[in-house]
Amino acid sequence: MTKLRASALASYVMLVILALIYIYPFLLSLAGSFKTDADATNNPLSLLPQTWSFAAYERLFTQVPLPLWAMNSVIIAVIVTLGRVFLDSLAGYALSRLQFRGRNVIFAGLIAVMAVPNVVLLIPRFLMIKELGIYDSYAGMIIPLMVDAAGIFIMKQFFESIPVSIEEAARIDGAGIFRTFWTIVLPMARPALVTLFILSFQGSWNEFAHFIISRQSTDLNTLTTGVASLFSGQLGSGNQFPLKLAAAVLMTLPVAVLFFVFQRKIMSTTEGAEKG
């Protein structure tokens, strides 16, 4: 009994240490963002600033165009997310429920497309965006991200898991295909839609490489490209860690909030099978 308890205790201690390793960098960054430059450099491990300084945040909102970056990020993430949720579910529904010629070919094509890695697409996408005359515009930054094959795949799988009888009843009652989809099927698909919403928002909020190749004017900087420009040093002298950390903290907040709100949902991708 005591042997069991000792080993349980040991594994708890180990897990707590591991968890600390995972959490501490974030706490340090948060603390660092409230330090003075000298304090951040001299006391890199301390979680408490010697004197609380809000200078970093103040500068981010006055001398650095962070609000503009944030606005661009919000605009892009919202449109991309709504577009993805809507277009992915339309496509997923067509692939799972509607009979039409070429459906299997399209699905096979989608699976193939899922395998194309994103970094390989940087140059090709830039070429196309340029050809279409939408380089350095919201259109070029947003439209290429508005559909993703993985999302279509997730929706298709979900639609296949819900019984077809309800839709058939609605159709027999005379509802059109789109109305059936919009008023009956989509509400039933809420769990999958929430998943897709989270993934799309997180993906487009955190997107970096695509915004490097689809724009050049600083007015179109998102939080990711803007903060990256802070790190590549246009700030004058010193390492200015508090400022950079404050920017990192601010850009992490929205996805962190989303994560904690939908935590059960995100983690429960695995709880489903846990019936005991």
Partner: protein, 362 residues
């Protein structure tokens, strides 16, 4: 009326799927075709690559990378070497750590499982830019990592400014300071064997730790899905035998997790060969080009060097490499991955995580 309730489905089907098809066609399929052309051309970035002043140069761009001695080939070789060491260290370590974490937080008797899962998964949701920025802070010359090393009496390196390969550092301990004559020349892609064997630079070690830190949580979730779909069977098998936890893990759990394990390794291989954001943020390959990766080099060659043909050629070589790894995985998985139900759940997991990691977090 003759059509019944299936009436109009064909038209609607095409209508529903057409926005997705148009976007994927315009921004994925056509761009690839365009880039294939560019990779065989001498386009200099001015005007359209489809206009008259761009000409076909055959396989010249590919030759410059693969066979012609010169700076292009050396840079490409260096980027392959750097990324290779990154892959060979990150993939096994993150897989092992993710599996370890999954087994730990899957235990039923564990209290606060939710807390631990959250803690381990949280780094996966942050943006690559924010987390790389945080790591630059932690690994700065007088940063947290060196302060910790200082407690242990170790004088930490100036991580991001240190181009020395760790294998070179290791043999230096035995008095080997420069290349032995046998290794001084003659390696593939214009790089001497001595350089190939340098190991990851000290700076690269930071990116390796970063990758393990940010992706182990994602893969932990995939392993958890795998563990839970086989959970009951394992417990029964173990109960019958009365096996201890170690034997249970190695002789029952691990073999049953094989499909999941292969999946995680493949996703890891694909993700690690795409290292880009972190390189961009740490100075575009600095120090001493030891952080250069094929993904970043292809971007730099095109967008900064205006050598679009070579940049595109590099992207396709990288693509081929990743496709080869994926096909290898399909081949290995072909016979073992049975059971329709597990299949679907795992496919869903893969799709879920693929769409997250595609953004370049890994």
């Amino acid at each position: 009326m003759a059509k019944g309730i299936r009436g109009g489905e064909a038209g609607r089907g095409w209508l529903f799927i057409s926005p997705a098809l148009v976007i994927i066609g315009l921004f994925l399929v056509l761009p690839i075709l365009l880039a294939v052309w560019v990779s065989f051309s001498d386009w200099n970035g001015l005007g359209s690559p489809l206009s008259g002043n761009t000409s076909f140069v055959g396989t010249k761009n590919y030759e410059k990378l693969l066979v012609d001695p010169g700076l292009s080939q050396r840079d490409f070789g260096t980027s392959i070497r750097n990324n290779f060491y990154y892959v060979i260290l990150v993939v096994p370590l993150q897989t092992a750590l993710a599996l370890f974490l999954a087994v730990q937080v899957n235990r039923r008797i564990l209290k606060a499982r939710g807390f631990f899962r959250t803690a381990f998964y949280f780094p996966s949701v942050t943006s690559s830019i924010a987390i790389t920025g945080i790591f630059i802070f932690l690994f700065s010359a007088s940063g947290a990592i060196n302060a910790l090393l200082g407690w242990l009496g170790i004088n930490g390196p100036n991580w991001l400014a240190d181009p020395r390969g760790i294998f070179h550092n290791f043999v230096e301990l035995f008095g080997v300071h420069s290349a032995p004559t046998a290794l001084a020349a003659g390696g593939p892609l214009g790089i001497s064997w001595w350089e190939w064997l340098a190991g990851p630079s000290v700076a690269m070690c930071m990116l390796i730790v970063l990758a393990i830190f940010t992706t182990s949580g994602t893969f932990m979730l995939i392993f958890l899905a795998g563990l839970q779909s086989i959970g009951a069977e394992i417990d029964e098998a173990a109960l019958m035998d009365g096996t201890g936890p170690f034997r249970k893990f190695f002789s029952i759990t691990l073999p049953m997790l094989k499909p999941t394990l292969f999946t995680v390794i493949t996703l890891g291989l694909i993700g690690t060969w795409q290292l880009f954001d972190q390189v961009y943020l740490t100075g575009g390959g600095a120090p001493g080009k030891t952080l250069l990766t094929p993904a970043y080099l292809s971007y730099e060659t095109s967008f900064k060097g205006l050598n679009w043909g070579q940049g595109a050629a590099m992207a396709f070589l990288l693509f081929l490499l990743i496709v080869a790894l994926t096909l290898l995985q399909r081949y290995i998985l072909r016979d073992r991955h049975k059971g329709e139900k597990l299949d679907k759940e795992m496919q869903r997991q893969i799709a879920l995580h693929a769409s997250v990691t595609k953004g370049g977090t890994s």
